[in-house]
């Protein structure tokens, strides 16, 4: 049994909100740099080179990479041998977001009610997903999600008869409809299987996987590569202004599903695919 004071959760989440909004992970950094080197369109190359400058300014001057510092999506992978003390864990998580967005000069983009739309002024509440794991570790992933790309995400309740071709069409449809709105080059998170909500959650979590690693299921890894190639032949390009780099990666997660269904969720992320990861 390991005991963790909830104030430690607050402190880590505060720092991680600030970190994720100013620095990309190394795999994203490398993917964007490689894209800048290989892009064929002159205008596309200019856009990608601006993104390189943007990342440099963000980390050196501590200006958020993007003004949409997102809604804070937080994955908590909690070992079942962990005991939290000192207060309510969920309150501690929201408090970390509140402190991070306030002290870190991050934009407050959350409204308290979807229709009445009054800003909560501290970017809370966060969106929190808990997973219980074996052991005594706590893994925290803070993934601020901007809504330019979130708004272009889709869910398709396909039929089993639609098969793999149906899945490919669904993903390509979502990406092409998103086009310039989702700030390409994008990262495409996909969930296949499960239920309506399970596939959406898998698609979101797939965005936090490295863009350099393929699925460990061989046919899924092949599907990820085939779709990435197809997406990059669409011509959409950086900023949607034409080019050979439309996506940096397609990350697909799968789960068993019902005999009658084939749910597919496509969660699109812009090139500012942010997440900070820590283990306590």
């Amino acid at each position: 049994m390991k005991t963790i004071h909830v104030s430690k959760i607050t402190d880590n989440i505060r720092e991680m909100c600030i970190e994720a909004n100013h620095y990309l992970t190394d795999d994203m950094d490398r993917a964007l740099k490689n894209a800048c080197d290989s892009e064929k369109s002159p205008l596309g190359k200019q856009v990608l080179s601006q993104l390189q400058d943007n990342l440099k300014i963000a980390r050196e001057d501590m200006i958020p990479i993007c003004q949409d510092t997102g809604m804070a999506v937080i994955f908590m992978e909690i070992g079942q041998e962990v005991h939290f003390e000192g207060g309510c864990l969920e309150d501690a998580i929201h408090e970390g977001v509140r402190q991070g967005y306030t002290e870190g000069f991050l934009r407050k983009s959350v409204v308290a009610d979807p229709l009445l739309r009054e800003n909560t002024k501290d970017n809370t509440p966060a969106i929190i997903h808990y997973e219980i794991r074996p052991g005594d570790q706590v893994k925290i992933i803070v993934a601020p999600k901007g809504f330019g790309s979130e708004n272009m995400s889709r869910i398709f309740m396909l039929k089993p008869a639609d098969g793999i071709e149906g899945v490919k069409n669904a993903i390509l449809t979502a990406v092409k409809d998103a086009g310039p709105n989702a700030c390409p080059p994008m990262v495409v998170g996909v969930g296949i299987g499960g239920t309506f909500e399970k596939c959406a959650l898998m698609a979101k979590k797939a965005l936090t996987r490295s863009v350099e690693e393929r699925s460990d299921i061989p046919y899924v890894a092949q599907l990820e590569q085939e779709l990435l190639d197809k997406i990059n032949k669409s011509g959409i390009g950086p900023g949607g202004l034409g080019g050979t780099t439309t996506a940096l990666a397609v990350n697909i997660n799968t789960y068993p599903t019902h005999i009658a269904g084939l749910p597919v969720a496509v969660n699109i992320c812009c090139h500012v695919n942010r997440h900070a990861v820590r283990e306590l």
């Binding site: 369109s41 200019q46 943007n54 330019g148 949607g240 202004l241 034409g242």
Partner: protein, 183 residues
Amino acid sequence: MDQYIKAPVSAEEIAKLHAGDYVYITGTIYTARDAAHKRMYEALQKGEPLPIPMEGNLIYYMGPSPAREGRPIGSAGPTTASRMDKYAPSLFDLGLKGVIGKGKRSQAVIDSIVKNDAVYFAAVGGAGALLSKAIKASSVVAYEDLGTEAIRRLEVENFPVIVVVDKDGNNLYETAILEYRSE
């Protein structure tokens, strides 16, 4: 081609701009996004005056992150323009000459741009830190209670944008894709 324009803009300057041009804007522009557009639209419906001048002006669809001490503004990149499609034509009809955002526009907005000899620019989405460097001053001029969505007057110097829809209705998002499509 690269072009340099002053804001507010003249009809002559707009006429020189073509889809695909890289344009550097220097002068005064205004910010407004979802909530400010809704308020301006409601003001017009009630016959009330708008809080900022439209004639010859440019609106930047942007809501910044907070400024650190000693800086005019925080991160300041464009937001998705299509959410303003409902409101844009009535502002173009009042003399608004251009808007800066990112992403596709509706046919009604493109028709309004052509009818009013206006222009739609894109700034690079997600490059908010870089774009903030071209903003030299910022002040809230209306709807302060909207926070990041308040209307701001910005003084910009060589603010980089790309012409997506020009006054003749040429649309870079449609033409540029064809050039690199290899399906």
